[in-house]
């Protein structure tokens, strides 16, 4: 049997070279550095370092702050992901009922998407400012003894609120396009088959949105893990007492502010492994079930 042979040429490699170089310079090389760093212990002045095997990892995993941060990150991510997905879905379903085809509303509804996380954080900061923040005053006026600078729950409330607000619009747009991609006639057939609108939603609409939901789940978990950095950095900065430290923020805080490069690198390596595991899990076990 004769197989088609293409002439070996260097051209295709040239085409992908820019991408490869970018990945190598900005991802693989730093990742390698981080991994290398994570096995080193530096002296207090950063003049010499010593190879210490897994000591950084041991120190980290058994340290109270890291565990606390890990638990906080998981809960924070779950909360942000769930709330922003649920809220967006609710809005999208409502919007879909009234705007079959009307595009101008859509743009209005998604403007928050264009706001960068640090900007969202700054806006939030302003609203929760004890002196001039309307929300701060409002909550206190309503009888909630609110102070996110000293109360861990209140601080969490602030960053969850801002993170969700920022993310809802993205999710909304995806859900809305997902809903509009469902053929009208399928929904009509369902109307003839099933009387309860709620049941129709759970048996027809929601399953048909599953691919969108899965995609958004991945995006949102990533967002909650990594991109909320900007929001935290501009609002609580991990305060009070590290109660709002996500793992990513802690890497930054320990490495850049605390100058513990080895420990911070070890944390980022662990984070990398966690994300990798999560991604593999999502694609292996969930994705297979959502595509029809």
């Amino acid at each position: 049997m004769k197989r088609v042979q293409y002439e070996h040429s260097i051209v295709p490699y040239l085409f992908i070279a820019p991408q490869i170089i970018i990945i190598a310079v900005f991802f693989i090389w730093p990742a390698g550095q981080a991994m290398h760093q994570s096995f080193l212990l530096e002296d207090a002045f950063g003049l010499s370092s010593q190879f210490v095997w897994f000591r950084n990892y041991e120190d980290m995993v058994w340290s109270e702050p890291w565990l606390q941060s890990a638990i906080f990150t998981v809960m924070f991510s779950a909360l942000v992901t769930f709330l922003s997905l649920a809220l967006a879905l609710l809005l999208a379903v409502r919007a879909n009922e009234v705007l079959r085809g009307a595009r101008s509303y859509k743009t209005m509804l998604m403007w928050a998407y264009a706001v960068a996380p640090p900007v969202a954080g700054l806006m939030g900061n302003l609203m929760f400012n004890p002196l001039i923040g309307d929300l701060y005053k409002g909550l206190n006026w309503a009888g909630w003894d609110f102070n996110h600078n000293i109360d861990a729950f209140d601080a969490t409330f602030v960053i969850v609120l801002i993170s969700v607000w920022k993310q809802v619009s993205v999710n909304f747009i995806f859900f809305l396009s997902g809903l509009q991609a469902i053929p009208n006639s399928v929904m009509e057939a369902a109307t003839l088959d099933c009387r309860s609108a709620e049941k129709r939603f759970w048996t027809i609409t929601f399953p048909l949105l599953a691919p969108t939901t899965f995609f958004l789940l991945v995006i949102n978990i990533t967002y909650a893990f990594f991109e909320t950095f900007g929001i935290i950095d501009t609002t609580t900065q991990g305060a009070p007492g590290g109660a709002t430290n996500t793992l990513v923020y802690k890497v930054y805080a320990d490495g850049f502010l605390g100058a513990d490069l080895g420990g911070s690198s070890a944390q980022s390596v662990i984070l990398m492994i966690m994300v990798l595991t999560l991604t593999v899990f999502q694609f292996r076990f969930i994705e297979r079930r959502v595509h029809y």
Binding site: P183, A189, D193, L208, Y292
Partner: protein, 362 residues
């Protein structure tokens, strides 16, 4: 089993489109009604109003005497087969068919037997575990029908269910739909713009134009006595020939504009002397060889051999009007030949030149 009645039904969409204008209709139990008409005439809108999918702006629709204007679609007990099938893509064929029943709290074992029986009737048993995307168009079409029949509805609605199928499958499914409807005897409304489908399926046919019923009757009634030029041109293929004409002042003949004079039976048009007409003759009646004398001759321009029939396109030697003639069997003619034309009185249709309404000769 149900009767259906529409009285003075109107539909105005929010954008102002007046899609259905004052439709009245009585449909008997078990009748197969077909709506035909050109694209955009309001067929689907009317059907969807019966299904409860579209609000009724004015008028009333009743099933078995019960007004359904404000009844939710799932309660008026109609089933619909959609043009694009509208199967639930995430469910297996079995679940697609069972969905409506389980929502009506039919016991599981009963659902199982109903679905299996319907699947057997439609010959889709082997696909019950497949998802819709693993089926061919014809198979999906059957599933869509299965989903409709398991519910044992009072009324079946079809909106161009065969238009996505190839010609051969279409003929086959058409026959199956007819057989199925006969065997279960459900009152049905079928929308199409394919006039062969319309003629073959219908007990009665409603020709719709611009939101109004132009004429309603059996296929043969519509073929033989079309009420307007619109119906006449819509029913029958190839379409009827229309020629501008005038009744002679003495009422004794019909003169085609700058053309031949057609003799007519004495006194037949006495009351219409001098009236301007549109004369209609079907292609299949122009070449009939019989005792009538030829009244004109056709200059042949184009010939289509269909095997059983031959279609001849040409123009009248006298006057130059375009005409289509249909002759039975294979004919050896070539462009440039002339063909004698006969126009027997019994096959002439006379319409008012202005309104297009049929002139009935009592």
């Amino acid at each position: 089993m149900a009767t259906l009645s529409l009285s003075d039904v109107n539909k105005r969409y929010d954008n102002g489109a007046h899609a259905v204008r004052g439709v009245d209709m009585e449909i008997a139990d078990g009748e197969f009604i077909v709506f035909v008409g050109p694209s955009g005439c309001g067929k689907s809108t009317l059907l969807r109003m019966v299904a409860g999918l579209e609000a009724i702006t004015e008028g009333e629709i009743a099933i078995d005497g019960r007004r359904i204007n404000d009844v939710s679609p799932s309660e008026c007990d109609v089933a619909m087969v959609f043009q694009n099938y509208a199967l639930y893509p995430h469910m297996t064929v079995y679940r697609n068919m069972a969905y409506g029943l389980s929502n009506r709290k039919v016991p599981k074992t009963e659902i199982e037997s109903i679905v299996r029986q319907a699947a057997a009737t439609l010959r889709i048993e082997e696909f019950l575990d497949r998802k819709p995307h693993q089926l061919s168009g014809g198979q999906r079409q059957r599933v869509a029908m299965g989903r409709a029949i398991v519910r044992n509805p009072k009324v079946f609605l079809f909106d161009e269910p065969l238009s996505n199928l190839d010609a051969k499958l279409r003929v086959q499914m058409r026959i199956e739909i007819k057989r199925l409807q006969r065997s279960i005897g459900v009152t049905s409304i079928y929308v199409t713009h394919d006039q062969i489908e319309a003629m073959t399926l219908a007990d009665r046919l409603a020709v719709i134009s611009d939101g109004r019923i132009e004429q309603m009757g059996t296929p043969i009634e519509l073929y033989e006595t079309p009420a307007t030029t619109f119906v006449a041109s819509f029913i029958g293929s190839p379409a009827m020939n229309f020629l501008p004409a005038r009744v002679a002042d003495d009422g004794g003949s019909i003169t085609l504009d700058e053309g031949p004079v057609l003799p007519i039976p004495a006194g037949a048009l006495a009351a219409h002397a001098g009236r301007a007409l549109t004369l209609g003759v079907r292609p299949e009646h122009l070449g009939e060889e019989g005792d009538d004398d030829p009244v004109a001759s056709l200059e042949v321009e184009l010939i289509e051999q269909l095997g059983a029939d031959t279609l001849i396109y040409g123009r009248l030697a006298e006057g130059g009007e375009d005409l289509t003639v249909r002759l039975q069997g294979v004919r050896t003619l070539s462009p440039g030949d002339t063909l004698p034309i006969r126009a027997p009185w019994r096959h002439l249709h006379l319409f008012d030149a202005e309104s297009g309404a049929r002139i009935s000769l009592g």
